[in-house]
Each structure stands twice: as C-alpha cells, then as structure tokens.
Subunit: 381 residues, 3 copies
C-alpha cells in the first residue's frame, strides 16, 4: 500500500502530460488560423492591455469640495442705489458644492399674517363664495381660503402672509445681470482609498501668485481653479442673460483620470460644464417642461410688535459641482485575469481552425483520421 | 542561417498544430460529458449573456437633483391664527436633494443673553452650590454654570440664552399635521459619462400639462415627479402622525436601470421610499436608540438695543433623495472576456469527464492506454 | 438523410473526444511543470478566492447621514459676556453631512448701504481719482468705485455696505477655542441595494444607555458615534488651535467593509479622519496655497427704517462626512468567472512547460516526435 502511494506520488511529480498534436501542413487553413491567432494576440495586447489598461486595478475617488464666490453688483432701481455682495447673493453661505447665485428676484416687503385677496393670475378665479371652500387651500394657491369671494379681484379671500407675492412678471433684464463677472473659486480634494493617495486641484503648477491673477480658460489656463460665472454658463451651452432672468442649473464636472503607474504630477483635474434638467444645447424646449430655477426665501423681523417678513423669490444660477475620479494602478490580479481570459479566447481560435479543417477542406477525411483515434471496443452492458 | 529562419517562418505560417484526440465510444461517460458541456453552454449563454448581460460594459450615473415643496398649513394656537408657507417650513430653502419639512416645533420667543436657572428635567439637579462647578458646562446642559444652585428649581444657575428652552413636552398632535398634504416636486438629471448620455426624470411622456395635474402613484402614475408628503411617509412603511410629532428621516431612491442597446425612451426612473436610521418597518424599537429627527434654529433680532432671538426646536420629516443609476451598453471587451472565461469553464468540463473515464469506468486501463502514450527512455543523469 | 442525422446525433451523444497526451518521463521538466501548476493553483485558491474573495459579488453602499453638535462656549470680550450654543455656531443648522463649526470670527456690526473708503490693505491703493474707475469694481474690492480717491486712507471711495469689513487681523487666540470640547453625534444609515440590506452605525452593541455616556476612542470605544471636536481635528493630523484660528476642513470617513456571507452583526463601521485641501500631515505648507476656511454670513435687520446688517466673517472647522461602503456576498457568476480564468492560466503553465520540453531539453527532438505527428501529404494546389 505504502509503495503504491509512493509510486503514484513519484509518477505525479516526475511525469507530466502534454497533449499530442498533429502538425497540419495545409497552407490555407494554417494561414487563416495564424491570422486569427495573431488577431487575438493583438487584441489582448493592444486593446485589453494598452488601451483599456487591463493590467490595472481601478479605484474611484472620494471627493470633497469648497467653493467661494467673489464679486459685487450695483443696482439702481427707482433711484434706490444698492450694492450686493457675497453675503447677499449666495445660498447657502458656507461654500457648499451645490449652491445658488442670485441673478434676479421679486421682492415682497413687509408681509404680515392676515386676510387678503388671492393673486388674480387666472388660476384662482371665483364667481361667488361657493367657489371658495372655507378651510381648504388650492394646490397653486398661497393660503387658506376664508370662504369669501372678493369682488374687486374676482379671487377668493385667503388667510395668508399679506400682501400676497405678485410673481406674474419676472424683471427683464434681470436685476443682477452683472453677476456675469462674479468669479468662483473651487477647492477640490480627492482621495483614492485603495492606493492611499490624496490629491488637491491646486496641483504643483498652481501656486499662490498664479491664483491671485489667473482665470480659467480651457486652452490657456486649464488648471486655474477660478472661473468667471458668465464663462461657466456660456461653456455649458446656455445663454447667460436668459438663464439670469428665469434661473437655471449647471453642472461643473471635475474629472480626474489618473494613471498612478506614472508620477502623481500627471494626475490633474479636467473641468467640464453642462446644463442640467434638460435646459441643454439641443433647444428642445417644447419637449422639456419646467425650465428655470427659483426658490422662495424669507427674512423675518419684528416691527411694532408684529412679526413681518420680506419674501424674496430668487431666480439664479444653481451650480452643482460633481467630482468624478478614477485611478488605475498595476496589480497582479487583473493582469492574470486578463491573461487567463486571453488564453481562453485563444482556445476559441483553435476551435474555429479545427472546424475549417474538419468540415471545409477537401481532404477533411484524411485530417479527421489524423486527429481522431477511435476506440474500437463497444460497451458490454 | 537565413534559410533556417525562412524555414522556421514558413513552418510557422503554413503548418498549424491541432490536438490529437481519442473518440471514446462509451455511452455513459459520453452522455454525462455532453450534459455537463451543455450545462456550461446554457449557463454561459443564458445566465452570463442574457440575464446578467455580460456582453455589456456598465457605467454608473452622476446625478443632480432639485426639489420644490408646495402647500400651506394653517394653525390656530391659543386663538392666534397663523399660516405657514414654503419659506416658513422648508430647511434649507434653496431646493437641495436633502431637506427638512417642519411638522412640529417648540418655540422659545425672546431669548436674550443672561443668567437663569437650568431646566429642571432631571439631568441637571443640584443640592448645593458645590454641585455647580463655576465655569464648567454639562454635556446635556444649556449653558455655562455660574456656581450657584437655585432653590426654586433645584438646578444650577447658568449663563445662557434666557429663558432656557423647555423641550420636555413635545406638542401632540403635531402642530403642522396638515403637512401630510404638501407636495414635493423632484427634478432629477443624470449623466452617463462613458456613453455621453444625459437624461432627466421628466421623460417623454411627462409634459407640462401632465405635471400640472398629476400625483405620483406606483401603479397609475409611476413617472409623475410630484409626490404627496403623506404618501412618501406611508410608502416607506412609517406612520405619518408619529413621524410628524417626533421627526424622522426618509430616503427617496431614484433608481435608473438602463439598457442603452435599446432606445433611450425605455430608460426611465423608478421611485422607492424607505425609512432611514433604523426607524424602519421591523418595529424593532427597543433595539434601535435615538429615534426622531430634530434640530435647533434661531431667528435673531434687535429689540430696544438688545440682541434677542427666537429659538425654534424643529421636528420634521427629513427627506434624502438618492440617485442610483446604472446603464449597460454592448462592448467588445466584456463580451470577449465572458467568452474567454466560458471557454475556460469548458476546459473544466473536459477535466471532469476525463476523471470519470480514467478512474471510474471498468475499462479504465484500456482508455488510459488510448489516451496516454508513454515516453520509454529514461533520463541519463 | 434521416438516418444520417440520426447517426450524427447518436455519435454526438454517445461518443466524446478527449485529447491524447504524452506522459513525459523527464524529471527536470516534470518537476518544473508541477511547481508552476501548483503555484497557479495556490494563487487561484489563496489569493483570488481567499484573500480577494473572488467568489463574491460586490455592491457599494448608498448612505445617508444626520449629524448633531452639542456643547456651549462662553466668551468675555471687552467685558461683554456671551454664550454660544448650537443654533449660533453650526452652519447649516439642519444636521447635514457637511457643515461648519464656527471657531473664530470677525464681526462688523451695523453695516448699511452707502459710500465709504475702501479698506487700506495694500491691494486697493490710489494716488489720484484717475486710479478709481467710476462704476468698476476690483476683483479683491468690496464695492463699486465712485471715482474719488480718498486722501485720508489713500484708497478709492466705494459704494458698499459701510463701514467696510476690516479682516486684516484675525483674532488670536481664536474667540471660541473651547469649541474643542463640543461633541458631534453622527447617525449613518447605509443600504446595499443589491443584497437588500439596510444597516445603521448604531449597531447591536450601541444602545441608548451607552450613547448617553460614551465618547469615541479608536481603541476603547471604536463604535461610539459621539466624537469630541478636538479629537477629530487631532486624529486627522492637524493642530486644533491653528485650525480654530484660520479655519480648516476635515474629512470623516465612515468605512464599511462587510462580508455578508457571515452574520450581519460583523458588519460594523470604522471611522477615519483626515485633513482636506492639502492642509495635511506632510507639512508641505509652502507648496499648497489657500489654506484656511472661511465664509461670510449676514444677519439683516431694520433700524429706524434703514436696512442694516451684521456681517460675520466666520472661520471654522468644516467637517465633511463621507460614507464608503462595500459588501461582498457569494455568487455563482464571479465564482465561475474566476475558475474559468484560472483554467486559462493553467493553460499558460502548460505552454511554458512545453517550451521547456521542446526547446531546452537535450532530448528535445525525441519529445517533438512523441508530441507531434506530421501530415505527410502535400497540398495539390
């Protein structure tokens, strides 16, 4: 018994099996076969390894963004001069990756709680008190109906913040058209967890003195982290004066595509801009409903012991900064997986060649005999 | 030398090798083997290719979200009527993907800086001044201890915004229970970078007139981007009146699963709702601590040259909108990788069959002789 | 014809082909070959299956975060005592995953719209009115130039919120240095869509009584969801008093790495802290511009019918909480793909062995004859 195990073991170690093969001397089949094999090899080396970098393991980035707007606007509405600075026109104030720059607004000063007539904008008409269900409110309405129909406006009386905001006419041109010249500073930090790499968009060539003077331009200053608001809007394919009037949303994509087999210095961001929510380049306006971007915002105060508020309907450019990071680095697992798959595909090539040889070539029966050996005996059962 | 290279070269091109094989006429082994091979083939074609779409390359979406609430609430607390509109109950105001709708609150009007007694809520008891370390503050406390123990309340005196907020009793029923009827409008734009596809949740069938009247319903209106707040809460498996009282967090998932080999029109969002932070369906309340959702928020004002504030402890429904997008498209690399792997698995099938043949079949020695040829010579060393 | 199909069919089912092989009795080659094959096997089993868990399908988490700060600060500036609580120092107030804790500030009380001199900080010097273009504004300026050069300050007169904020001197030590003792409570909920698993960072061992008293410590309390602000800053490699003065950004990473083949109880979060925006550990200050973190924020009020505002330049610790979740679970597809690849790599091993045998061994011609059979006939064409 022991010697048997020993024999098996020594056989296993000192013998090895390799397939027996026929060398087929058939030019046509051989050439076709070699071409297929070389095609597979070229595909594996050229495409999988060189182009797609199949030998790399890939990690996506975790990003963090801080933004800061700069710039002031000056308005002169009905002889009232006013300056707008960052604390006035950015929402929210703390430098988030998603924020709104106010470019236009409708202000309703001194609202207080009480009863007044609903806005006569066509959606809230009434003919008699019966049209105004007491205690209900309409989906498009501004308050709670009291049950009375007001004669002067032909709209229901409502309990609401009064006077009701009149947003039927959006200021044109937009009040803060000079917002075009504001600048946006973006600080972006990304982390590739798997590779323990942290990187900032203030790369080596971007130093303090450069930041003080530069302005982003895709050709001349592709790494400057300071952007003119008007440029952002225009590069995303939108029209600034239109967006400034009704509002709009723009995505700023910071795209990192890093090959960590090279020096980290080559790992640089690329900035891209595009319109969001279907306000895109295609001009397919009639198809896409709900253009524009606006929200309401109130400043509360107390006057003569009565709580009042100033309601702002803010139209603006909403900017969503999105980080898309991807880094690749050589790793043995994807390399071997790619090679393994490649050898598998080589097998496919052999199968194709054999089909040619055994079914299409005139001498196929001869080759069949060469390739196959038949077991003569038949089974007993 | 030259001719030798030439020969090698011509041999390489005009000859090709194909493995010699034995055709084993053994019904049992053959049937088992064919079944295994067909199983592998069925698995590769059916599962990898058809079900898992292994021939597609996959990209995940970059999404951008804008939200807008609509609706008003009317309250009548101790004869004081009040209306609440969007600017009053949504935090933050600018339409983020994560926001809070206030449903209940505890208000403390007219706080100003000064000294007063800590809240007698059991956590801040004192018997003598020694219990109140001057200059320290307690983790659950509201201010800086002055070192005195107040007799009336048996709590430490603190320097704080006075009077201290009393949040021991949460209003029940919640003040803004009608928040159930508010509607939420979601605009979602996604980008599949790799395929250069941009898509909005306002798909082809959702036009302006539809939006004006529709309300989301999973069966009848699965694409309407307008949601009733009460529906969102209920569909996530929570109880609105409970959530409205103590607050809660709900995730709204916009799920895009697109097959870009088909028309882009079939790429549609699916909305799902679920409770967050363990306030889920399972009713496992005793296991999960820290239910509810609330935060504090202050409105500052100046009265008689003294800075004061109105502190609100806001309970509400926090809504986190999350985009999960995935698109697949035919690509040659994953196709060939899948085929390569498949051929590899075929090889496994052959190995299994050979084992059957060589170790389990009665005539195994005969087959061994057919399959293997021994090299007779032994090594010299 | 019919019988021919039948024969083909029965041949296909009752015959199967297996490659003929030579058993090469060559110790050296055999040993090398076996070693290579065992290496491949060890790699596939040990690395791909055990270490990298190649038999698992992987899903990334969708996370949702709620934060709550606790703690008060007491300041005594020029005999003016003041307490700061959560509603005063956290921006935004509603408990987002990204927020700022104010640690220092420059306040400008009672700004109103009007004309005043630009700040004499060196960047805005003028010698004559010609240096002050009327109606323009400078990138670093605070308002709209009126065209006058003011003699007293040698700066341009501007239309702005007056008086202009003087941020030349940042308070040192920071006003709210006691912010170090604030605590941060993090609630994190994650969802693995593919596996239908929802999990919260308040895992089984974290119950209400534990939360009431615990404080995060990587060794002793790695699961406590309550963090001291000073600890967070220090663990990220930064210096609290420096960060508190000029501001800084810190990433808190909640890392979930779950093996769902085990019990869900082992799926626990790990917390990590790191500095963002290049304010990192390496101390490479001169290379990285734009340190610090600050933003401006205004509280508006009306005094004597004039709109005024209190402008705060807030310096603080910005905390970005990031969720990185990954769960793996056994699945048949990746298992078979890994096996398929492995068999492919086995093929590579055979190719290497054959090269040894056919090109390097002394008796190579003998082995060539054993392995290959030549087709004798030449082609006619």
């Amino acid at each position: 018994m022991k010697s048997q195990i020993k024999t098996t073991f020594s056989n296993f170690f000192f013998e090895y099996e390799t397939p027996r093969q026929v060398l087929v001397k058939n030019k046509r089949v051989a050439v076709v076969c070699r071409i297929i094999q070389m095609g597979v090899l070229a595909y594996i080396i050229g495409w999988v390894f060189m182009y797609e970098k199949g030998y790399q393991v890939v990690d996506t980035a975790i990003g963090s963004i801080f933004t800061k707007m700069k710039g002031v606007s000056f308005t002169n509405i009905s002889k009232k001069e006013r300056i707008w600075d960052v604390a006035d026109y950015v929402f929210p104030e703390q430098g988030d990756s998603s924020f709104v720059v106010m470019t236009n607004y409708i202000v309703t000063v001194g609202q207080k709680q009480g009863k007044c007539a609903e806005l006569p904008d066509g959606k809230n008409k009434c003919n008699s008190d019966a049209d105004c269900d007491e205690g209900k409110y309409k989906r498009m309405g501004n308050g709670h109906m009291t049950g009375r129909c007001m004669n002067e406006t032909s709209t229901c009386e409502i309990y609401s913040w009064c006077p009701v905001e009149d947003d039927r006419k959006i200021p044109d041109p937009p009040v803060l058209l000079t917002a075009e010249n504001y600048t946006l500073f973006i600080k972006n930090s990304i982390t590739f967890r798997q590779f323990n790499v942290v990187r900032s968009n203030l790369v080596e060539s971007v130093n303090q003195s450069y930041i003080n003077t530069c302005l982003y331009h895709p050709k001349t200053d592709p790494l400057c982290p300071i952007f003119r608001l008007g440029d952002i809007v225009e590069r995303s394919g939108l029209n600034f004066s239109e967006i400034a009037r009704v509002g709009g949303a723009i995505g700023v994509l910071i795209d990192w595509d890093c090959n960590l087999d090279l020096s980290i210095r080559h790992c640089k961001p690329k900035y891209e801009f595009y319109g969001l929510y279907g306000t895109g380049k295609n001009g397919d306006k009639e198809e896409k409903p709900s253009l524009g971007y606006n929200f309401r915002y109130a400043k509360y105060y107390v006057e003569d012991a009565v709580e009042k508020r100033t309601l702002m309907k803010v139209f603006g450019v909403r900017i969503d900064i999105i980080v898309h990071g991807r880094a690749g680095k050589f790793d043995i697992i994807p390399t071997l997986t790619a090679i393994g798959s490649g050898v598998g595909i080589f097998g496919v090539a052999t199968v194709v060649c054999d089909m040619l040889l055994l079914y299409l070539v005139p001498k196929r029966d001869f080759y069949k005999n060469m390739k196959f050996k038949h077991t003569q005996i038949l089974e007993e059962e």
